[in-house]
């Protein structure tokens, strides 16, 4: 069973219609600009659990949605 994503316009649609987008990363606090930039460029939480992310309904109505997904 393939993963489905519910589009507010189109209803539940198969994952192949969607394009995965970056996980929004918002630093909780900024103490050192250089470390922060390295971290934003390369490092990831790589959460095993619920993540908040954006998907684009490219092969559908071309709408962006923000959703939470469980990665396990």
């Amino acid at each position: 069973m393939a993963m489905r994503i519910t589009c507010p316009n189109c209803g539940p649609r198969s994952v192949e219609e969607w394009v995965y987008a970056e996980i929004p990363i918002v630093p909780a606090s900024i103490t050192d600009p250089d470390d922060r930039d390295v971290d934003r460029a390369f490092f990831h939480d790589n959460t095993a659990g619920e993540v908040t992310e954006s998907w684009f309904h490219l092969y559908g109505c071309r709408r962006w949605v923000t959703l939470t997904r469980h990665t396990l």
């Binding site: 069973m1 192949e16 390369f42 396990l72």
Partner: protein, 402 residues
């Protein structure tokens, strides 16, 4: 007696002791190779390899068994060529049959731009003594069985590099050969033991908490695949890793011989024939990070269409098994080996979709690093600090399909 029992009955798993010089987290190929080379090259045998599941049950048992060194940057060509050499000698060295098969590998280009990229790959490989040569479409048509030179009208084959060192080996047997070789010299290989925390003395990692009690360690090394971020979190180390699934399948027996390994990065798959005659195909990683090893029908639909376009004979075969492994993807598509900001905790990770071929060379390099405290030149460029130091080793075009 099947091959599993033939190799396995000789192995007696150990019970965990309370303390070791080196504790290796992850009983896959990389962890076992690190233990094997610590024992055979450096005489360090007070070593435990901890595996939460069964030995070789992660990516070491889920990969597509390709061995090659046709990389695109000098650091990687040198490193993987060492691994190709070590694999060639592994049967003699361990006295175990790993079913190593020299095959040769075609890496196809389907566009003019990729034709130029393959010409460059051949040049870089040859500069470091690796036998990779550019071949024209006419030669590909003659040497690759059953290939459709203009698949779908959309991906004409514009050339390829032929990599002489391309080979395969039976992945499970590699794990068992290394495990057995290490255990014979006194290493404890301990399956069914999950690491659930790290023990610190001030800021130094001095042991691990496991599902079967605490174990003290002079050095802790993570060789975990996929779940390495969770291990690094315990050691208070942040990694540039994202975990993505990669799916693969084998078909039933194909009655003809299919000699080479064939990669098509543009079509996003690669195939080879196993010693049992099955056609083995791997694909690109799923675009979204996930720790799920579930296979998906949608993947099969998509990849089967592309494979049949390039190899029409594949349409007559049936899919026998389908599976997924979870890959620790690094930002520059190169591995990460060495020290971390936490004293006493080392990582061997970022093996993404290219880990099996590197098992002996990473084990050899990590063992020397642990034994001497200095990274040997072959693994020295692949440090975790390279990202902060702006020395990333970008080689996405050589990672295969991803």
């Amino acid at each position: 007696m099947n091959e599993f029992w033939e190799a396995k009955v000789k192995l007696q798993w150990a019970e965990p002791a309370r303390s070791y010089d080196v504790v290796i987290i992850g009983g896959g190929g990389h962890g076992l190779a690190t233990a094997y080379y610590l024992a055979t090259r450096h005489g360090i045998t007070n070593v435990a390899v901890l595996e939460r599941d069964y030995i070789g049950g992660g990516n070491s048992g889920r990969n597509t068994t390709v061995i090659r060194s046709n990389y695109g940057i000098p650091e990687a060509v040198r490193f993987y060529e060492r691994s190709v050499e070590l694999y060639q000698g592994l049967e003699d060295e361990t006295d175990r049959w790993i079913m190593h098969a020299a095959k040769g590998l075609f890496w196809l280009s389907h566009t003019e731009a990729n034709r130029r990229a393959e010409l460059a790959r051949a040049a870089v490989n040859q500069a470091f003594g690796v036998k990779t040569e550019f071949v024209e479409p006419e030669e590909i048509a003659r040497r690759v069985p059953g290939i459709n030179m203009n698949p779908g009208g959309q991906f004409p084959i514009t050339g390829a590099t032929y990599h002489h060192g391309g080979a395969t080996a039976r992945h499970d047997r590699v794990n068992w050969a290394l495990a057995e070789g290490a255990m014979r010299l006194g290493v404890d290989v301990i399956p069914g033991t999950e690491v659930i925390g790290m023990i610190f003395d001030r800021d130094r990692a001095v042991g691990v908490r496991t599902s079967r009690g605490d174990i003290a360690a002079g050095t802790v090394v993570s060789n975990a695949g996929g779940n390495v971020t969770q291990i690094a979190d315990m050691a208070k180390v942040r990694l540039p890793i994202r975990t993505h699934p990669l799916q693969a399948f084998v078909t039933n027996h194909y009655e003809n011989t299919f000699d080479p390994i064939v990669f098509s990065a543009d079509l996003g798959f690669y195939i080879s024939q196993t010693t049992r005659g099955e056609m083995l195909a791997g694909a690109h990683i799923d675009p979204q990070p996930s720790f799920s090893r579930r296979s998906q029908q949608i993947f099969m639909n998509e990849i089967a269409g592309r494979i049949v376009a390039l190899f029409p004979f594949m349409s007559k075969l049936r899919v026998l098994r389908q599976w997924a492994g979870i890959c620790d993807m690094s930002p520059d598509y190169s591995p990460i080996m060495g020290f971390t900001p936490t004293d006493g905790f080392l990582v061997n990770t970022g093996w993404g979709t290219w880990g099996f071929k590197a098992i002996p060379a990473s084990g050899e390099g990590m063992a020397e690093l642990i034994a001497t405290g200095t990274a040997p030149p072959l693994i020295a460029p692949f440090t975790l600090e390279r990202f902060a130091g702006d020395r990333a080793l970008a080689d996405r075009g050589s990672a295969g399909t991803h």
